[in-house]
Subunit: 189 residues, 2 copies
DNA sequence: CTCCCACTTGATAGATCGCTCTAGCGCCAC
DNA sequence: GTGGCGCTAGAGCGATCTATCAAGTGGGAG
């Protein structure tokens, strides 16, 4: 793939994560990417919306890789959940509470205003849920219960991100992580 | 208070909830409020930012009233938590997945871009946390544990809103509500 | 070499952004 | 009636938004 196109995608991903969709201008994207203005419309003839949809899915796939990266080395699945929340807290602090979920801000913005982008965010959340549920099922938890735990864990994580970024504390991530880890532990056979 | 000023505040609250801060133009606000353009700047000389900060706090105070409204008639505090999530799910469905948290979208948008508005959202989240924690403490749960449960419950609720609006399902609210209610039940003396 | 096409470049269109400004309306005090 | 004032009313400013466009660059195929 063209390096320019790649730079546009990664630059947009960073901007969407921090400022959301409507808050990110095309001008800011090409400036951040160091790309000429016309190149963006060469690679993304659908404009900002097409670029946004692709970046949402790209960020979603990238973030999904964190699940095996954290769960594989963990001693058990419950402490993996704890590690996941703890790692997110660390990233948040290191980036001055900027880098949390790459798509949550956009998801809320577009949920009632842009069906194309809303579907992209829904796909990503579904894939994350499925990935997490598979991990739980792998430990012997029933399929339905695994899916419930995955949804609840993802909800707690996303919500903790909201509170943490607003209040500039990582406390929500700690207590939400403990709550989920405990629930997972209790569900283990 | 002037009825025009009040209409501007309520109209802005509705728009911020659905479309966020950057996605809501001043023109859209005055159109929705049926108010003349100049009136907005008469009542809010600080412009869009001042209006936004006031609306965040106003919506926060309004939403805080839901806690006693749901918790008072409930048989016990754990089922009150369940009722809260169930009620949110009902509202979400009735409004075509538009009306969830009145400030979450704005909170994520401004967390790294506007300190004035970020502080307003932080204040609201803090007040909600305190209100919820007081309810738990009232039932004999220790002060620290009450605060933890309040933070975790609020996190789960906010995150479930994100997933629910994106995927257009109320399932996240159900499982997150169950998780929190169970945790509260376990913490009761 | 020439031709071709993917890609770069930036000026610019047309719409919309937040905001300011002047003008005037309607009500109350005097 | 007259003056003052809270509020209404909307034209219009400069800036910024997304998107388009024509022109140009560069490298590989023939």
């Amino acid at each position: 793939m063209s390096p320019t196109r790649e730079r546009i995608v990664t630059a947009t991903a960073g901007l969407l994560r921090r400022q959301g969709y409507t808050g990110t201008g095309v001008k800011a994207i090409v400036a951040e990417a160091g790309a000429p203005y016309g190149s963006l419309y060469h690679f993304f003839p659908g404009g900002k919306e097409q670029l946004g949809a692709e970046v949402i899915r790209w960020s979603g796939a990238l973030y999904a890789q964190l699940v095996p990266a954290v769960f594989d080395p963990a001693p058990d699945v419950a402490s993996a959940v704890e590690d996941f929340f703890r790692g997110a807290a660390g990233t948040l602090r290191e980036t001055d509470y900027a880098d949390a979920c790459p798509i949550a801000t956009v998801a809320l913005e577009v949920a009632s205003t842009n069906e194309v982008l809303r579907e992209a965010t829904a796909e990503v959340f579904d894939s994350w849920t499925a990935g997490l549920a598979a991990r739980f099922a792998q430990e012997g938890i029933g399929e339905d219960r695994s899916r419930e735990l995955a949804l609840a864990t993802l909800s707690a994580l996303e919500g903790a991100f909201v509170l943490a970024r607003a209040t500039r504390t990582t406390e929500p991530l700690r207590v939400a992580g403990d709550l989920c880890a405990e629930a997972v532990r209790a569900a283990l056979p």
